[in-house]
């Protein structure tokens, strides 16, 4: 070594070199780069339905996510580190969803994965999340998390599940609309959850399900199913998802006109659909479940006002830049709230990097009460760390003069059901 130094570098040259390196390190740009290592972004892999059956939801999930990230970053990020979203289209397909998680974990070194609505994508992706030991925060509504089907790395803290939603609707329907209900629902798992959980809750209330009309998922015309609805139906409970929802409600209107049974629907049947669309006038007077009321209500909270403004949604639930671009307001708040929960969990656990993933999960599991706030604009919630599922208020709105007006808000307790799993007993 000495020989090499002697041979090639004189002492003067060496001193010059050290001085040069010192001056470069002292330059402002270099200092900020040095600091950047400790304030490198927290990477959140965002599994988004950009294509496929869930594209309408994906578009708004994306906008809500970007808005939440901006708010969090503007207020100092998480533990002093900014959030960075790495978005990947899951094609609303389970295989592609699992591939997206692999990319987040192994290609981008994401700290956590987040997002996505459709249940089959979540169920197809969750095993990989468990294998990759990647915390996977889903905004899916499905009962799959709380049912115990998934694993300790999969959590749903920002949106309630379908089982709690439908059982909370049963008392209102029986007391206000009628005791004889016919259910129209898509003939796949999401519809079956409605069929099974609502039936059980409604019958336990003393109501009666007089007919169940499943509609095959490949169906694009619905008129032939409506004659199956019995004449003595007092309430028609409807829920539909996918690109054919507008056709479904329009044909329902053509079938009944202004007559027919009282209507109670899940907003999914008209989510992202402009309610002023000709042919939907018959919905006036009907009731809807909404996860979060699309129209700004008379008792709108400051938190909803702030959230609506941040995402760019007007008081009618449409984009501020295009009144025809109607949001998926009943669901997308879940992205906003989930990101705030991730922030809180990381701060609580002192999260500093991938090695702290288990600590993050434990921190979220230990959460219980989530009060109404800017972080939870949809309403207060109670998180069950054992089942990895949150519980919250549900809203029933009535279509009045073309707008959905709040008619009833359930209590959080209305949505409770016995635990079906304890994920905290599973090892990491």
């Amino acid at each position: 070594m000495k020989k090499i130094l002697k041979a090639n570098i004189s002492r003067r040259k060496l001193m010059k070199g050290i001085a040069s390196v010192g001056s470069i390190v002292a330059m402002p740009g270099f200092v900020s780069y040095s600091q950047a290592a400790s304030s490198s972004p927290i990477k959140i892999g965002f599994q988004v339905h950009r294509t496929g059956i869930g594209a309408a939801y994906g578009r708004w999930y994306d906008r809500t996510t970007q808005a939440a990230v901006k708010i969090i970053n503007d207020s100092g990020g998480i533990n002093g580190r900014p959030l960075e979203i790495i978005a990947e289209d899951d094609g609303t397909d389970p295989k592609r969803g699992a591939e997206a998680l692999e990319k987040f974990a192994n290609q981008h070194d994401c700290d956590v994965a987040f997002g996505t609505l459709f249940s089959h994508v979540v169920i197809g992706s969750a095993p990989r999340a468990g294998e990759l030991k990647l915390p996977y925060f889903v905004v899916s509504e499905g009962h799959h998390v709380a049912s115990g089907m998934l694993n300790r790395y999969t959590l749903q803290p920002g949106i309630t599940d379908v089982k709690s939603q439908v059982q909370a609707m049963a008392p209102f329907v029986k007391d206000n609309l009628g005791k004889k209900v016919t259910m129209v629902y898509p003939d796949f798992a999401f519809g079956h959850d409605h069929r099974d959980y609502f039936s059980a809750a409604f019958e336990s209330q003393g109501g009666q399900i007089i007919a169940k009309v499943p509609i095959p998922p490949t169906e694009s015309s619905f008129s032939k199913y409506f004659p199956k609805i019995p004449r003595d139906t007092e309430v028609l409970y409807h829920v539909m998802v996918g690109p054919a929802v507008l056709t479904f409600v329009k044909e329902l209107g053509e079938f009944y006109g202004s007559k027919g049974p009282k209507l109670f629907g899940f907003i999914d049947s008209v989510e992202a659909v402009d309610l002023s669309t000709p042919g939907l006038e018959f919905l006036d007077g009907s009731y809807f479940w909404e996860g979060n009321p699309r129209y700004a209500q008379a008792n709108q909270t400051d938190h909803d006002k702030f959230y609506r403004n941040a995402v760019g949604v007007d008081s009618n639930g449409a984009s501020v830049s295009d009144p025809k671009d109607v949001s998926t307001y009943a669901h997308m708040f879940g992205c906003w709230e989930t990101l705030h929960i991730i922030k809180k969990g990381m701060e609580k656990s002192g999260y500093s990097g991938i090695k702290d993933r288990a600590k993050l999960i434990e921190a979220v599991e230990s959460m219980t009460s989530m009060p109404l706030s800017q972080a939870h604009p949809q309403g207060a919630k109670i998180f069950n760390g054992k089942t990895h599922q949150t519980f919250g208020h549900q809203y029933i709105t009535k279509m009045t003069n073309g707008k959905l007006v709040l008619a009833h808000t359930t209590s959080i307790e209305d949505t409770f059901y016995p635990d079906e799993v304890d994920y905290t007993k599973q090892s990491f």
Partner: protein, 313 residues
């Protein structure tokens, strides 16, 4: 040693060395495990389409038959991995015999439509019997059920070697068929069915056998996919999963043993890299496929065979 055997052994050796020498990052290791199992499905498809000349639009039926046979037997009946794969092979063989027997009453476009319809029936049955199959949501095969002779198949390295073994098995079956007199008759049927008939071959029997082999390999790949990746769902029975193997085979080279692998790698990484560039990645994918179709009409490997290496099977 035969040139074709050297080529295929070399290809498999490269895939083995990539893992043994640790050249793969964890990400690409996972991708290739998936690609190899899907390419095995493509190999099954290629036997019917590439060698026999029968274009099926219903192969998702065979893939999902294997997927569900193994998955449901593990999920509901606590079958061991080995038992579930044997069951999946048996059921895939039975279903492909049945579908082959019925669909071969038609030819050409009608054959495509009939296979598509059978596949749609299978898809709707999966949804209809949702209480058993968990419908469109599907179900998870838990990690504890994915142990084979004390090997944890959810371990990335074991999964990769398993996928490579599955693919190797399928391509050697394909290679053996391609070089056998049976395979030559299939090619004769593809080139001129009437002439093969005139020469005294029982064309219908050969076609039926081709469907059974093709469907069974596809079912085997489906069973392995569910076991290795832990998820069984109805989306694998949709028409998209009948189109995918067709694309892999067309891009890689119909009637070439390694074509489905080349096609599957190309498609996978095309989508992967394009989605890094833009949200509208399907435009890049579409344009790329157009270019490949225009300038390599026989597929990538097929074009190489046509221009330079006529001995490639």
């Amino acid at each position: 040693m035969r040139k074709d055997l050297i080529l295929h052994l070399s290809a498999l050796s490269v895939l083995l060395l990539l893992e043994l020498l640790g050249i793969f990052s964890e990400y690409h290791q996972g991708n290739f495990a998936r690609i190899l199992v899907l390419a095995a499905y493509g190999v099954g498809y290629n036997i019917l389409f590439g060698y026999t000349g029968l274009l099926s639009l219903g192969h998702a039926l065979f893939f999902s038959a294997g997927l569900y046979a193994s998955g449901l037997s593990i999920y509901h009946l606590d079958y061991e991995i080995g038992q579930s794969i044997i069951l999946a092979i048996g059921i895939s063989a039975f279903i492909s015999s049945l579908i082959g027997f019925l669909a071969l009453r038609t030819i050409g476009v009608s054959f495509m439509i009939v296979t598509l319809m059978f596949s749609q029936i299978a898809y709707l049955c999966i949804l209809y019997f949702g209480s058993i199959t968990r419908g469109d949501e599907g179900f998870v095969i838990q990690q504890s059920s994915r142990i084979f002779f004390s090997l944890d198949l959810s371990n990335p390295t074991i999964r990769y070697y398993s996928a490579l073994l599955i693919f190797s098995l399928c391509i050697f079956i394909n290679l053996w068929i391609a070089k056998s007199s049976f395979g030559r008759v299939l090619v004769a049927i593809r080139e001129n069915s009437d002439r093969a008939l005139m020469l005294g071959y029982n064309v219908q029997s050969y076609k039926l056998l081709s469907i059974i082999i093709s469907g069974t390999i596809s079912g085997f790949a489906g069973a392995c996919y569910g076991i290795l990746f832990g998820y069984v769902g109805a989306s694998f029975a949709t028409v998209s999963y009948s189109i995918f193997p067709l694309l892999w085979v067309l891009i890689g080279g119909a009637g070439t043993v390694l074509g489905p692998l080349v096609g599957a790698i190309f498609m996978f990484y095309l989508i992967d890299y394009a989605s890094d560039i833009t949200d509208a990645y399907m435009i890049i994918v579409g344009v790329s496929l157009l270019i490949v179709t225009l300038f390599a009409r026989r597929g990538l490997l097929g074009e190489l065979r046509y221009r330079f290496f006529k001995w490639i099977p």
